[in-house]
Symmetry: C2
Subunit: 479 residues, 2 copies
Amino acid sequence: MADKTDKKLLEEITPIEEDFAQWYTDIVKKAELIDYSSVKGCVILRPYGYAVWENIQKIIDNMFKKTGHSNVYMPLFIPETLLNKEKDHIEGFAPEVAWVTRGGSEELTEKLCVRPTSETLFCEHYANTVKSYRDLPKLYNQWCSVVRWEKTTRPFLRTREFLWQEGHTVHATHEDALEETLRMLDVYADFCENYLCMPVVKGQKTDKEKFAGAVATYTVESMMHDGKALQAGTSHYFGDKFAKAFDIKYLDKNNELKYCFQTSWGISTRLIGGIIMAHGDNRGLVLPPAVAPVQIRIMPIASHKPGVLEKAGELKNRLEEKFRCDIDLTDTSAGFKFAEQEMRGIPLRLEIGPKDIEQNQCVFVRRDTSEKITCSIDVIESKAEELLNLISKNLYEKALENRRNKTFTAKNLDEIIEIAKTSTGFIKAMWCGDEKCEVILKEKADISSRCIVDEDHISDTCVCCGKKADKLLYWGTAY
Amino acid sequence: MADKTDKKLLEEITPIEEDFAQWYTDIVKKAELIDYSSVKGCVILRPYGYAVWENIQKIIDNMFKKTGHSNVYMPLFIPETLLNKEKDHIEGFAPEVAWVTRGGSEELTEKLCVRPTSETLFCEHYANTVKSYRDLPKLYNQWCSVVRWEKTTRPFLRTREFLWQEGHTVHATHEDALEETLRMLDVYADFCENYLCMPVVKGQKTDKEKFAGAVATYTVESMMHDGKALQAGTSHYFGDKFAKAFDIKYLDKNNELKYCFQTSWGISTRLIGGIIMAHGDNRGLVLPPAVAPVQIRIMPIASHKPGVLEKAGELKNRLEEKFRCDIDLTDTSAGFKFAEQEMRGIPLRLEIGPKDIEQNQCVFVRRDTSEKITCSIDVIESKAEELLNLISKNLYEKALENRRNKTFTAKNLDEIIEIAKTSTGFIKAMWCGDEKCEVILKEKADISSRCIVDEDHISDTCVCCGKKADKLLYWGTAY
């Protein structure tokens, strides 16, 4: 079926086995997720890319609301003195912020940074509004863009500006705040696994890798097709560190003044990069049905024949009741249409032609497996639902299988260096907890610690120094 | 019923008749719509204020999607050279933009402005992506924040950063683009009148008042309680001005290269200021049901009595199926609860106590009229719907009545100066079209032109110079 144009559309993608990075870049452009602009390090989210983000937002915002959170909006700018209030926080962020120094025609007396994250603004607001135990907890979230002045950038994975959500909560006790930190980590894990079909490893970051200003950072780490790790979401426990720096206190039931305890947590548009690299193939994007802007594309075959377009329209009207659905009415060849639908990762294609209509049937084609399923027109809704569920399950299973195949175990330094040299994947190894060993491994094996996990221990000695170890650490190469 | 605390809550609002500006400021704080921060000229949108914005977004985004628009996201920054490409545009915006001059540890070689509006970015993208008539029209919209370095600021009405949507479209012909400009003006008018219950005057801005870079700007102007005008939304027709500056061309069906025609249109969080000033009263905010975060608040009366809380919960479960609804379970007095519900402008209160339960009834109280309506528990859903509709209708009618009472007609210069001196409202007057007359009126009567409307003419001579006039202009004092 394919004509010259189709071949061109396909030829332009670099094979995934040949150059994974170029394959990725080809897809983000060819699937029309993003475009570049003259703003260095920033990208444009085109309608198709933004629609994926809107679907992510809808699902997870609903999960936030079910867990009691409200959305707010804080200013884009942070005055320098405010940013400087928490020592570890500013040390972490100062090197990578953008500064506004002029407003209108005047030089500002105090420069303003464009928010890289909004802890300081939330803290100031909490200090103003939290007075009594009755005001607690405050469970806020914000959808916005943040700016970090990165030197090397890649669409979705690392850009100078990116879209995200940042949750910020304030609690009466240590226990409440820690519970919230872990609850939101679970929300992220649930979202990644059950909606994005991306299995995750849940764990705690080492002190070296934790968020600037946090007491503890928890993470969900996902493995990409090439064996590299993607930090998909993080949840931070702050203890009362920020509360002390910003003087956030409340009167408890006994009328005693106490410091509050806080958390923050975030996911970003880098999840779209994760979707591409976890599920994509040589024909392009493969989108998880839950976030696909179009879940079913109807393709009229021989659409000039009488009745075909009418029937296609009728099927669309029925499917639209339950699914995000469109019809391809462009005047290109069938081959081009198929290639385009596959490039865009639309989970299901429904083909309907004159012969199908005669037999009261249509053909579903799965994007993930290319399997063709003939289906009576009477039951398209239930069949579509079944197939979309099967696709979600299959994407998850394939990603899990990939992770299983690329997860290794190392017991000593030679082993871990050897594995890191020959394979890209997760390496599980025991760790004594000493940052020196973490640094040695990073230098000698060129891998970074991903997270400390709660799994069966491999041994009781550190993979690096051989001393007693009670932490099981995942290692990997990260995006 | 009111105890000391209630009085305090009420006393703190300045009466609307005494000081409208202070009344407004009191409401935005007391209804917990916003909070101030150390970021000068910017405000925090608190959960209640942001929830109103989320409801506005949901409704109008749906209207945008129904008219064929897709959402995108453009970078926050605009390089100076890009901003400078269209002469009138840069002249209008240069004096009020914020400039980023440092990124990380380095001085930028080219300064970046924080977007005050994104025409230039959209134009650059359209120049890259529009090639053929097949690519047209492109109907994009963006939800984001923009920054304008205002000297004097007021919550919602004028802040250095504000949230808005900006639609940007590109078309093959003049006719298509003009039709789009007027279509979106109609969408805004529909939204303001039918969802925000704010009647609007639709018209065209004079050249003096049009958007920087536009060929024509259309506006919906609404009158506030105090007679001042609020520009609620604007829709701009650009002709091919930007297309020529940015070289946006397409190949038409005859393979001829042609310039595109463009539009842009926007509404912002200032609509929330409009809602406050159009409908609020001395008890606080009065929210239009369509955008109220809580449409019905259930108040259990004598909630310690057996069965009251259970029944209240049961009613909530039923009402939640159709309405945004909550129960006040705080341990404050009934008077305080009522005052708080009224301050927040919740359209309906449902009171349910032991005697009501005995009689299988409850009492609805309308926020707008304070009317109490006894209702059988069997029909609370239909009664609530009926009452919410009546409230919407009444808010609209009251605002329209206010506008009727404060709309004047002037035939000559003395008349218009006299009216402007003694009343605040809309003044309808004929205009010859000469900017000199517009400037004279602005100086002598301290009013500004709102829009040229398509209504029956008052006379055929200019209110200012007495020469022949064929334009009917609305004048007013604007927020």
